[in-house]
Symmetry: C2
Subunit: 326 residues, 2 copies
C-alpha cells in the first residue's frame, strides 16, 4: 500500500491519466478556475457516485468505479441528445484508499474520457469518510442543434428503448449475493451493472430524427422513470415480451419465481434511453437507430399498463433506499 | 425533528428557496440535464464543503453552511475577474440532518445566490455518512472581456491584497476553542470564518485595470498560496505591518505570544484577493479598487521575504490536514 502523501502527489497521479491540454480549454486545471470555450447553449448535469450507496469496493474494481462515476453523467447528456464536451471531478478519499486504488480509478475514468476526447478541467480533492466521486459534465448540441427533453410525448406516440432493461438489476443482485464470483456466471448482467454502456452516438442520432419528441435515460427503472418521462395527464401502454428480454434477465427471474417482464420493468441502473416518437416518424427512427425497440405507446388516459395489467407500484427511489442496501 | 421522507420532499424544499426560472436557463432542474445559455468563453470551478473537514455543525448555523459552501466557489470566480452566472449542487445528508436543518442551509445559500441573481440549475441528492455540499459554479467575463490568472507577475510588479489576512484563522481557532460563544468576543474574526466576503465586484474591477497582471484568492493562507501565485523562478518581498492587520488578529497573536504578521501570513480561509500589478498602473488600481493594499513586490530572485526575513515554512495543505483537525 502506498498512501497518498500530499495534494501534490495526488495531482501528479491525475496528471498522468488526464493530460492538461485540449483545444477548447484555454486555461486548464491548476488556477482558481478553468477557462472553457463552449457553444453558446450547453447542457450540464452533476451526479454523485458514492461508496456503499452506488457501488461497493468489494466487487467493483477501481477501474469500474472510475468508469461508472463518469458514465452515469455522460448517460444524462446522451439522453439530452448532447455531444459531451468536458467534466469536473470532486472526490473524497478515506485513509484506506491508496495510490494504487486511485491509479485504477483514474485509468477507468480516462478510458471513457479519452474515447470521447473529454478534458477533465478541474475539481477538488479531500480526505473524507468514504470513496465519493461527484462529476459535473456538460455537452453541446449535435448536428441537429437541439436537445431532447422529457414530457413531450403525445397520445399515440410510440415509446421505445435503446438498450436493455432489468439487466443491471440482475447484475446488482448476483454481485451482492456472490461478489466478484458472479461475473463468470452472469457476464452480461454484471457488466451492465459495473460498466454500463454510454449511448452518446444513439442520443445524437435520436436528436436528428425530426419526429422525435423527447428522451431520457432510465436510471431508476422504467417503473420509476416512465412517470417522470410522461407529460402530466397522459399514460402509457407498455408491452415487454419475455422474448425481447436478455436471457440472463429471464433466467434470473425464473430462479426467483418472478415474472421476467415485471422484474425488467422495475430494475434500475441500465441507463437505456427511453424515447417517444411520432408514429409517422417510426421508419426514420428505425433507420437512424436500428437497435431501438418499440415497447408501447403514449395513451390519452393517465396510468401505466404493463402487458395488459395496470401498474400500481412505483420503482426505485435512489434517495430513499440505495441499491446496495436494498 | 422532521425527517426528510423522500426525494420529492427534498426537491420541494429546494424549490421553495431556488425558483426554477431564469432568463439564461431555457431548461431548468428536473430533466436529465439543465440547458444553459452562456457566453462562448466561461470559467468554471468546483469545490467540496465537507463536515468536519471544512466546517462543524457545532458552531456553523445551517445558514452559515449553505452560505459558505457557495461562497468559496464564487470566490474562485471573483479571483478570475469573472461575473458568476450559475451553479449546480451535489449533496449528501446523514440521517440526523432533518428538514429544518436543510431549510436553513438552503436559506443561507439562497441569500447569496439571490444577491447575485444566480440560478441553481441542477444537481444530485443522496444519503451519506456526513453533510457534504459539492458546488460547481461558472461565470462569464465582465466588461473587460478577460479573465485573470496566476503566474503572471513580473519582477518589479507590486503585490496587493483586497481583504484581510489572518482573520478567518483567528475565527477558526476561537470557534474550535469556545464554540459559538466565541462570536461575541471575536465578532469580526468569527464572521470571517463563518461567512467570508465574496469579492465579485472587486474582481470585476481588477480585470478592468489594463496593467493588472493577475489575481487569485487566498484560500490556504499567503504562505501556501503566494508560491502558487508566483511564476516559476521569481520571488516576493512582502511587508505586513501590524498596523495594517485587523485588531482581532493582533490581539489574538498577542494572547498566544505569536508574531502577528507571521500569524497573518500563515492563516487560511480569508478569501482575500491577491494580485500583481505593473508599477505604472498602481494609480489606476487604487482608483478602481480603493480598498486594495500594496503588500510588497515581485522579485527577480526566487524565495519569499516577509518583513525582511526569508520564509522557510509552508502554509496550510487542505488535503493533508483539515482546518478542523489542526
Amino acid at each position: 500500500m502506498s498512501r497518498i502523501a500530499s495534494e501534490a502527489a495526488f495531482l501528479g497521479l491525475i496528471d498522468r491519466h488526464f493530460p492538461r491540454r485540449h483545444g477548447a480549454v484555454p486555461l486548464h486545471r491548476g488556477d482558481d478556475a478553468a477557462v472553457l470555450d463552449l457553444p453558446g447553449r450547453i447542457c450540464l448535469t452533476a451526479d454523485l457516485f458514492l461508496e456503499d450507496a452506488h457501488f461497493r469496493r468489494a466487487y467493483f474494481t477501481p477501474g469500474d468505479i472510475g468508469y461508472k462515476a463518469l458514465a452515469v453523467n455522460l448517460s444524462d447528456l446522451a439522453a439530452m441528445g448532447a455531444s459531451p464536451l468536458g467534466f469536473a471531478l470532486v472526490l473524497t478519499t478515506p485513509s484506506d484508499a491508496d495510490a494504487d486504488f486511485w491509479d485504477g480509478v483514474f485509468a477507468g475514468m480516462a478510458e471513457l474520457a479519452d474515447a470521447l476526447d473529454l478534458p477533465l478541467v478541474g475539481g477538488d480533492l479531500n480526505r473524507g469518510p468514504s470513496v465519493a466521486l461527484a462529476v459535473t459534465a456538460w455537452g453541446g448540441p449535435g448536428p441537429s442543434g437541439r436537445f431532447l427533453r422529457r414530457g413531450q410525448g403525445r397520445p399515440g406516440d410510440a415509446l421505445f428503448l435503446v438498450g436493455e432493461v432489468g439487466l443491471a438489476a440482475v447484475g446488482l443482485a448476483v454481485l451482492e449475493a456472490s461478489g466478484r464470483d458472479a461475473v463468470a456466471a452472469w457476464p452480461v448482467a454484471t457488466t451492465a451493472h459495473l460498466r454500463p454502456a454510454v449511448r452518446v452516438e444513439a442520443g445524437l442520432a435520436l436528436a436528428a430524427v425530426p419526429g422525435l419528441r423527447g428522451a431520457m435515460d432510465v436510471s431508476d427503472g422504467l417503473a420509476a422513470d416512465l412517470p417522470r418521462f410522461l407529460a402530466p395527464g397522459v399514460g402509457a401502454d407498455i408491452r415487454l415480451d419475455p422474448s425481447w428480454l436478455h436471457p440472463e434477465v429471464v433466467a434470473h427471474a425464473a430462479s426467483r419465481g418472478l415474472d421476467p417482464a415485471e422484474a425488467a420493468f422495475s430494475g434500475g441502473e441500465d441507463y437505456a434511453l427511453l424515447g417517444a416518437v411520432a408514429p409517422e416518424a417510426l421508419p426514420d427512427l428505425l433507420r437512424a437507430v436500428p437497435s431501438a425497440r418499440v415497447i408501447g405507446a403514449v395513451t390519452a388516459a393517465p396510468g401505466i399498463i404493463l402487458n395488459g395489467r395496470p401498474v400500481t407500484g412505483r420503482g426505485f427511489d435512489h434517495f430513499e433506499s440505495s441499491p446496495c442496501s436494498s
